[in-house]
Amino acid sequence: MRAKIPVLACVLICVVAMAGVAQQGHPLAGIWLGDWGATPDERNQVVIEMMWETTTLSGTINPGFPDAGTIRVGVLDSSDWTVHLEADAMDEDGNPFVIVIDGQLEELGSPKRTLSGTWRHGGAEGDFSLTRE
């Protein structure tokens, strides 16, 4: 993942530039930036783009990369603002794996709202923290 950082940085610059200013629609829609990792020292940068259409949440984890994950399950429980995402991805050898994210949405009224929680990625498990850009 470390080799991806310069490329990822370029992608981030592009998506942040497109993201513009505060989004006031569905709380999850937009571009989210942050990282996930098993320990505080082992972090992996991540970008998630989420879209809301009528009643369906869709999106992509790390768009533009070979191991990009397509969100196939997206649930927002607005009674407590918890989020459950499941995404299908493939590793560099073409083996499929699933990313499962469970998080808590906070600072809803802020243009820089946050989403953090647990991240399961293949056999790995860790925490994540994202900020909407």
Binding site: A22, H26, P27, L76, S78, S79, P111, K112
Partner: protein, 290 residues
């Protein structure tokens, strides 16, 4: 033991006659009120005139700008705290439980009642009802030869939006914007404005009823008499609501007032949505996004 009280005859007589004695005065007040209601101004072809008449001054000001009537004790207390008590005519505004929110939209609306970061009060444009309910007055300009109507607002971003009255359709490839793209037509005495193409950066009402990019607004504006504007709005947004719903507000003509230069950014202390990075007004390296 309670003693019976006896009132003097003159007092009883006055009491019984008081309605009769006051009727003429009441009738005079009623006549004066009726006489004070001036008819709807019209152009020579009969079309309703929404704008200020030549030689006069005035702007339109909102009455209660709420789109949703409070129901719970907490909601009512919040309304009273903010001084909004005029619900308008019966049926104009729905109660909270009558709004067909999607669950997330209902929760976000409730959240916004106590965690308000309204883009409009940070100088951002706002479409729909919020555009009309600007502080310090709203003004219409009916450019009839040009087949456009412009709605100018004094407060907020001190901006305007055009309503195309030439029969055109909405463009197919719209760039989403704060105000969206508006086309209008007259249905009898009502101006009907159809708007699509909103971005998701504004609120269409001051209290934060959520909307998405799927928003389609239909506004009906009528002027039943000289001093009154009735504003109705149908919100069709399948991204946030399970069905279209209609609300509105009454507006009053404020004579002898005119629009003035209003610069929202001057002295605005609510900077949260005005700064591109850092989220602090004193970060001089931040990009200002007015």
């Amino acid at each position: 033991m309670r003693r019976h009280r006896f009132y003097p005859a003159w007092a009883v007589t006055v009491l019984l006659l008081s309605p009769v004695l006051t009727l003429p005065a009441l009738a005079q007040d009623f006549d004066a009120a009726a006489a004070a209601v001036q008819p709807t101004p019209r152009f020579s072809d009969g079309q309703v005139n929404l704008q200020v008449l030549a030689g006069e001054k005035g702007v339109w000001n909102r009455q209660d700008y709420r789109l949703i009537l409070p129901e719970t004790e907490e909601q009512t207390a919040d309304r009273d705290l903010r001084g909004g008590r005029d619900d308008g005519p019966p049926g104009l505004k729905p109660k909270f439980s009558e709004v067909p929110f999607q669950p997330w939209a209902e929760s976000l609306f409730i959240y916004r009642q106590t965690h308000e970061i309204e883009p409009y009060t940070r100088c951002k444009p706002a479409g729909g009802a919020r555009n009309m309910a600007t502080p310090y007055g709203t003004e219409f300009v009916q450019a009839r030869d040009e087949q456009r109507i412009f709605i100018f607002q004094t407060g907020g971003p001190h901006s305007f939006r055009p309503i195309y009255m030439d029969g055109r359709a909405h463009p197919e490839d719209l760039d989403p914007s704060y105000y969206g793209h508006s086309v209008g037509r007259w249905e009898g005495d009502a101006l009907v404005i159809d708007t699509v193409g909103f971005n998701e950066r504004g609120w269409i009402g001051a209290r934060g009823a959520p909307t998405t990019k799927q928003l389609h607004l239909v506004e009906r504006i009528s002027r039943p008499d000289y001093d009154t504007l009735r504003y109705e709005i149908t919100i069709d947004d399948p991204g946030a609501y399970t069905a279209p719903w209609t609300t509105g507000m009454m507006m009053s003509w404020t004579p002898d007032r005119e629009q003035f230069e209003y610069i929202c950014q001057d002295g605005n202390l609510a900077s949260e949505l005005m700064i591109g990075a850092g989220n602090t007004a004193i970060d001089r390296g931040s990009r200002i996004v007015p």
